[in-house]
Assembly symmetry: C2
Homo-oligomer: 244 residues x 2
DNA sequence: TACAAATATGTACTTACAACACATTAATTA
DNA sequence: TAATTAATGTGTTGTAAGTACATATTTGTA
């Protein structure tokens, strides 16, 4: 029961009491990383016959004694072993027919992790990182979930300093720009990009240089500590006056 | 069972089988309207003893055969009788202890309706419109839900033409500005506000004038039809390139 | 007929955005 | 060791939007 939502239909049919207590509750995690200049997502092969050969997101049913946030954190930890992750709730998918084995509503979270600092665990069912842009079809409604989370990531990425969770501690501006380009699927002008980042005032110049690059090394930067926000919850307190 | 989530503890204790099928699923609606220059929200008195004298949002358990979106739409319709409403999912609240009678997770929706075009129905338990800014405390975690939805509304209001769902078909720029001010809790400069709205190009000049106002009447406008988006879902397709 | 109260509009300053070009540095190669 | 290559690192200019601020106009009312 640790991967995906794998309830046999029989299992579901056994249970049928009050109408209000046979909706199963799950979470699904869209876990992003950045590797080889590509945005990737953690996927696993579905057990269900209906979806043989399709990949699904990492998910599980929520336990009776755990918060929704905790459940998604548990899944992430079980698979990546990481303790300190960026995790944000995005949307809850609750169509009646979204799961072939019964009524299951699922809350989607997206997560950003540094590929270098994790090793996948419980790597059964072909658990692996898959380039986001190659994914055309997934099991269940997981493609829609992925798209929704990717869109949320795109919305957030210029407004809030979340992208740095995908990078190692030290990075060059080129690396940062390439990451933005991978997420947004656009090409950016280097000079304008640097200006924009400079205005945000998110970075500290480390006075160090890249090493082992086959060209002129760039300066290294890190995120200012005050922006390291590995929150579990969507913050609900931006009161910025949106108009003049 | 139509208002709030009112399960007696006994009812809940009867049911206790597989761990995964005794989480109840509900929706809660933050239904906003605009009346007497105030942003108001529809509230109802809670049945639970724990929360006597506190108000709660309109909510209900989700039925086995209805989509999550449909459930929130049903609640809205039951109370306001309105068919064509703006409704958007915001966040799912799933703390273990958020409901005193048992494990209930709830998905919050916010909705915008024109106060003039509805009549409240099933007005038991002191169902009424309450000014948002006067609400300090609510039953359950409903104050947090309200805050989260209000913040979402504030985020959306300048980016997307959703605010017009709170206004009658025809309105003056002053009315529109007052509504923005009520939602954002700011004072806006009239000249800059008009410029900003003009740039958006959301409005049609109706070549009509306000009537029955005790001062010089203003022009009336309406929203361009192509922006009347009474969507049920958060759109998941803004691919705007966020950077140069 | 004067007054009060709101509508309607314009200008100057500042800041962000977008398109674009050149000098500099380090590694590689001839 | 000098020339080449491929990246880094900046600066300028035009355009659009944001902000602060003032005056003339229209209507209802006293």
């Amino acid at each position: 029961m640790a991967k995906g939502i794998n309830l046999k239909t029989a299992e579901l049919e056994k249970i049928s009491h009050l109408d209000y207590f046979n909706i199963a509750v799950s979470v699904d995690c869209v876990i992003f990383c950045y590797e080889n200049k590509e945005l990737k997502v953690l996927v696993i092969k579905s057990d269900l016959e209906e979806f043989s050969n399709l990949y699904s997101l990492l998910g599980d049913l929520v336990r009776l004694d755990e918060d929704l946030d905790t459940a998604s954190y548990r899944i992430l930890q079980e698979r990546t072993g990481m303790e300190d992750v960026y995790l944000e709730q995005v949307h809850t998918f609750g169509s009646v027919d979204r799961h072939p084995s019964g009524r299951v509503i699922t809350t989607a979270y997206y997560s950003l992790i540094d590929a270098k600092h994790q090793k996948l665990r419980l790597t059964n069912n072909d658990l692996h990182w898959h380039p986001v842009k190659n994914i055309k079809k997934m099991a269940f409604d997981h493609k829609a979930i992925l798209d929704t989370c990717l869109n949320r990531l795109r919305e957030q990425v210029m407004e809030h300093p979340v992208i740095f969770n995908l990078l190692p501690e030290k990075f060059s501006l080129r690396e940062l720009q390439e990451l933005y380009e991978a997420i947004l699927s656009v090409e950016l002008d280097r000079r304008n990009f640097r200006k924009k980042i400079a205005i945000k005032d998110w970075l500290v110049d480390l006075n160090e240089m890249e090493e082992d690059v086959p060209h002129r090394p760039g300066k290294l930067y890190k995120l200012k500590p005050e922006f390291k926000r590995k929150t579990l919850r969507r913050k609900s307190s931006n009161q910025r006056p949106l108009v003049a």
